[in-house]
Amino acid sequence: MLADGPEKTGDIERIKNEGKELTKEEKQRLRKEKKQQKKNKEKKDEKAPLESEKEKKPASSSPASQATAQPPTQKASSGVPAPAPVPVAASEAPSPVDKPAKSKAELKAERRARQEAERASKQSKKGEVGQQAAPSKAKAPPSELQPVVKRLPEHIQVDNPEVLKKLAKKLERQQIPLRSDYGYKVSLFSHLHQYSRKAPLTQQLSIPSSVIHPAIVQLGLQYSQGIVAGSNARSVALLHAFKQIIRDYTTPPNEELSRDLVNKLKPYISFLNQCRPLSASMGNAIKYIKKEISNIPSQCKEEEAKSKLQDCIDCYINEKIILAAKAIAKYAIEKISDGDVILVYGCSSLVNHILCEAFEKNRKFRVIVVDSRPRLEGREALRRLVQRGISCTYVLISAVSYILPEVSKVFLGAHALLANGYVMSRVGTSQIALVAKAFNVPVLVCCETYKFCERVQTDSFVSNELDDPDDLIVTRKGKTHLEHWQDVSSLGLLNLVYDVTPPDFVDLVITDLGMIPCTSVPVVLRVKNVDQ
């Protein structure tokens, strides 16, 4: 029987494998591999092979199998270890014999198990890694069942000394100075960085900066001093700096532009991160540039490649920022009707653009600008709108529930749109959205698609940015009460930059793809990924 078994295995396999010739050694190897797979399959906890195994050894354990038809797992685990060769042979041998005794389902299960075994053996025949493939395959499913823990980004683990050490080492390798945190941090936010504007990173750099391109040093300074602020402005300035870097770049000998340029960009990005944490829009722009650089074919000449990259950057800015703004303005203007009272918060370049366009299209509306300390960006928005001739009212955020009964719509800008539909924007936005919801005023968020980000966040604590706490200090009538706040041990100053608004408070998101509800963000992301 045993002798017949392998031959019959060979027949079956020959039929199944569409006429492949098997030598004796191969057959033996096959048998061994099948044994191994069987063992691994036990661990896998799959019902089909176990069931089929159970079915396949009625000869060896017929009374037992008939008695315990149901729980195959126990039978399998008890059955397999000891009589290892027997079930293998028995699996092949009794199948033709016991055919009439089994039902159709059992036959199906058997065939499935056999096919799986043969597929596995084919893979093992193809490459010598077969032995490893099977156990790795066995290992993979169990780990999938365990929760997949992604690595936390380091910028929200500032209170973990090991993470800080790793960061310091990385910066040292890239020859970038480490910016030290400043002042007492409120305990809820002690996992975030807090820098002082009076201690710029350039203090520790040599003045003719040789490690970091001068355009990047200039950009980092402008970020940390707030001269370039706002999601769109930061991205445009970043891409402008990248254009300069590409222009000044020369490929070193024995290197490829596609790989070397990407490596050159890494320390610059770390430097900018140290000056001010990167925004989601900047992150997407960087990803795009890196992809474009790596896609440059190696036979492309340097000049050609450089001009191609610069064109890509121009194209990106044109499409994602300028044209997107036009498209969003077009959609948004449909939503603005004559006699509207529109509430805006802070200074969002996109919302300002929309309002100016609507005014030029002769819509009659007035605007209420809500502002908050310490940034007081609303003043700049107010200036831009009044310059165009739009009639505006200016209030601070503490008066928003007073003014809301007059408001017909709320237009908000966004810093990023998260994958679970939450809107990340300047701190105070969620307050406005909440109060607007309470007054049943529609809230429309305007956001370009390049700001969509795959992060998921439900609260404003986990990932945020802490600005310089000294910004909160104000001098009135010559008196600065908070001047020595550091000396008071129980006092902490908190200057948050962003907050997240849940999608229930947002009625519509106007993007360049159209007007979508807040919860459709993951769909857009998925479509974008497929496109790329």
């Binding site: 710029p200 350039t202 003719p208 001269i227 602020a229 706002g230 891409l239 254009k243 310059q387």
Partner: protein
Amino acid sequence: MEFQAVLMAAGGGSRMTDLTYNTPKAMLPVGNKPLMWYPLNLLERVGFEEVIVITTKEVQKMMSADPKIKQDVKMKLEVVCIQEDGDMGTADALRHIQPKIKTDILVVSCDLITDAALHEVVDLFRAHNATLAMLMSKAHEFTETVPGQKGKKKTAEQRDFVGVDESGKRLLFMANEADLEEGLSIRKSILRKHPRVHIKTGLVDAHLYCLKKSVVDFLTDNKSISSIRGELVPYLVRKQFSKTINGQKTKDDVEDQNQKKSDSSTNLELHISSRDEPLLQLAQERSCWNDHRGDMSEAYHGGKLRCYVHIMDQGLCYRVNTLAAYIEANRLAPKLFEEPVVHPSAVTSERCQIGSDSIIGASCQVAEKTSIKRSTIGNSTTVKEKVKVTNSIIMHGVTIEEGCNIQGSVICSNAIIGRGADLKYCLVGNGQRIEPEAEKTNEVIVGTDQLMEI
């Protein structure tokens, strides 16, 4: 490369001829180091690796002979020689080296001694994309008595009027008293844009300028400007508010400007705008930042030319261009660096008293029973017994015989002071001899050849 450093070391020291008639100003010893070592050290500390030094042949020779410069300065010095008698101003010198200039420049004068944090000046230059950024400091009163000064009152120096905006960083106005005949007049356009102007007079210009490369190119086209401090800086400050630079460029404006091709302002504006100007404009438009508030104009009032100044209120900053400044610098320069009071190679006997704020140079010989307080003794100087030196500066190679009493004086190199001489507040020129038992107070003793040079 971001910056190229340029050191102006060809100056003649016209305000302290007594000291400089033999030694060029750049090589005058201050704290036993040549004067130009201090700005070179400053540049090296900040991280420069190359400096272009504009100087005369004489100074170049002395530089190569000087041990301090050869050993301590690790940077690469590219020396450009110019004629000493030719009337070359600092801007002329910049025009001369224009082919070498590839990036923005940092111009330093050789007589600057400071411990300022240079990144403050450079950060203003970078962050605001400025055309000019400079360093100034609050002037300190010189308290030491200057030898050879008749009477207490100093001649009234020409004051500088510097106007800055509210933040104290933007330079709005700069004029010297000599140029203002009737009074100080400020254009209305400046006041309209910056309603609050702070005008300061007690500031010392450190002569440290960050200039854009386009300014150097502009200088090659405009040969009439010869001095940076005297002409170029006031010109740039004035041009910030010039009408041709600001405002939208319409077709008519372009035609007008084509007509006045010789107008230097057009050239400057053309030089300033960079490539990718539209992208920069876009970024600035979208950014919610403004440098001022209260009126309807955008950031920087739409102006492309901007001048910034960093005013230091603490720390050392000296321009060694007068005798008083020279003495003051000698007093304070040693405090900048932690150096031993007595040079290791100097031979001092045990019974001499050397104060802790004095410096004894290399290869000196100080005999017994001498007392040296608050003084600087140069290299290779011999001081014999029973000499009292207080509050003085003694340069290299001087011989002081026994029993001398030197107070508040400046003794230049290779002078010989005879025994028993008593000098108070005197200046002894190079190689002079003071006869023994001489008593001189408040005198300037120089050679006859110098007297001829007026």
